[in-house]
């Protein structure tokens, strides 16, 4: 199982970059999340990022 990103609800708080810097970055223009390597794997860091995300932008993939 991996995770998906919903940029429509992202508010650019940057919490995911703090929790999983190897996986998430922020677009320098609007601050919204961009996955560093394309996909978002399941890992303890990513799960922490999903928990810390204020806007529900990191969701388990169906």
């Amino acid at each position: 199982m991996g995770f998906e990103i919903d940029r429509t609800v992202c508010i650019g708080a940057g919490t995911c970059v703090i929790k999983a810097p190897a996986v998430f970055a922020q677009d320098p223009d609007d601050g919204l999340v961009v996955p560093v390597g394309g996909g978002v794997p399941d890992s303890p860091e990513v799960r922490r990022a999903a928990e810390a995300c204020p806007s529900g932008a990191i969701v388990p993939a169906p």
Binding site: I11, G12, A13, T15, V17, Q26, D30
Partner: protein
């Protein structure tokens, strides 16, 4: 069957005697039995109070609960504020707007407060911190940590970032903290806001005439009216002045009461990051928030009706044993992920990455420069901001051994 709840009660605000960092005892007791309970508001409204972590998070994340000021009721009586409805927040004061207005302002600003951009300020924060520590050393031993260190470091940084002349940051600081003071009269708050707004309006006009290389200078290039820009400036300056400063001072005070923890600040960058998150959680200085239901919402086995106000005790939630083990213990080595100290949902703190940079520079540097730093008065004589929306200390006399 919804469980029956205790009769509605006003929000308890008095901290337990001798425990200036802990939530009011009544809130802890409620949380453990009724994490969602009825609350009576100063205007006579009977609404709700959330003290449990999971429910607090759920309310803050749910867009059916509004942040609009004209729908909100004050959770505690405030000197001179009439019991009637509050006026809507003006354009640009987006902490009190919902989508889509909120989203528009937030999108405009988020790119300017990213982790990367705020971390790029680290060296500058280090310089400002070192200068203040030098000044303390010259002046002491024996200074008020609030005035000598906790206030100027974030103040100089936010002023520089926004492009606000910092010469008189002490004066701004007093204006902003009076707007957070529940004992300040309506006239005092109005006068403070008017002075701050008037000053920043003048600054916005000056930047329109000749744009400068700073945040406000950049924002004059965006599609914003003078009124919007002025209110954004008031919000950012206010939030930047009266939050991190209280975290630094209250953080130092908390560390004095748990001196065995201070070593964690010298255990490398990751340990410091963890320590900062734990201090945020443990102190949760922005302790109380309010939302209003826009429609009927079922929550925790109860029906919250459209129009009901919901007060969120972020402080009680961040001490929820269902979420954090031994929640009343300050443990700088724990993983405090999920705390609500910076809020949750669409309004979670815009300036959080700046606050993190400031805290992780300022606190370790303070204890590194003065390894014998200690309070100069007994803990129970420290003047705590009991009646403020943002918790902290009014002053913190400290001393150290000269080498």
């Amino acid at each position: 069957m919804p469980e029956s709840l205790p009769a509605p009660a006003p929000l308890s605000t008095a901290r337990p005697r001798g425990c200036p960092f802990d939530p009011p005892a009544e809130l802890g007791a409620l949380r453990d039995r009724h994490p969602l309970s009825r609350m009576s508001y100063p205007d006579g409204h009977v609404g709700w109070l959330v003290t449990g972590h999971a429910l607090a998070r759920a309310v803050a994340a749910d867009r059916r609960f509004s942040s609009r000021q004209e729908l909100m009721r004050l959770p505690t009586p405030r000197n001179g504020v009439p019991a009637g409805p509050l006026p809507p927040a003006p354009p640009g004061m987006f902490v009190s707007h919902d989508a889509p207005e909120h989203t528009r302002y937030r999108r405009l600003l988020a790119g300017r407060f990213t982790v990367r951009r705020m971390r790029a300020l680290t060296e500058r924060v280090e310089q400002i911190t070192a200068e203040r520590l030098d000044a303390m050393e010259g002046e002491g031993p024996g200074v008020d940590l609030v005035v000598a260190f906790a206030q100027p470091v974030p103040a100089l940084m936010i002023c520089e970032l926004l492009g606000v002349p910092s010469g008189d940051h002490g004066h701004f600081q007093r204006l902003v903290s009076s707007t957070n003071d529940q004992n300040a009269s309506l006239e005092e708050v109005g006068a403070a806001m008017a002075e701050l707004g008037g000053f920043l309006h003048g600054l916005v006009l000056a930047k329109r005439a000749s744009p400068t290389d700073d945040l406000l200078g950049e924002l004059v290039g965006e599609d914003l009216t003078d009124e919007e820009l002025t209110n954004i400036a008031v919000l950012l300056l206010g939030a930047g002045l009266d939050t991190t400063a209280n975290m630094i001072a209250l953080g130092a005070f908390a560390l004095f009461t748990a001196p065995e923890q201070i070593a964690a600040l010298s255990e490398g960058p990751e340990a410091v990051d963890r320590a900062v998150e734990e201090l945020l959680r443990y102190l949760t200085i922005a302790h109380t928030g309010v939302r209003t239901a826009l429609e009927d919402v079922e929550l925790g086995g109860h029906l919250i009706r459209a129009g009901d106000s919901v007060t969120i005790s972020a402080l009680a939630a961040d001490r929820d044993p269902a979420k954090f083990t031994d929640p009343d213990v300050l443990d700088l080595r724990r993983d405090a992920t999920g705390h609500l100290a910076l809020g949750h949902g669409a309004h979670q703190c815009l300036g959080q990455q700046l606050a993190r940079v400031e805290l992780r520079v300022a606190l370790p540097a303070l204890f590194e420069r003065f390894p014998t730093l200690r309070p100069a008065v007994p803990a129970d004589e420290v003047a705590v901001r009991e009646d403020s929306d943002i918790h902290g200390v009014y002053s913190l006399p400290v001393t150290w051994d000269e080498v």
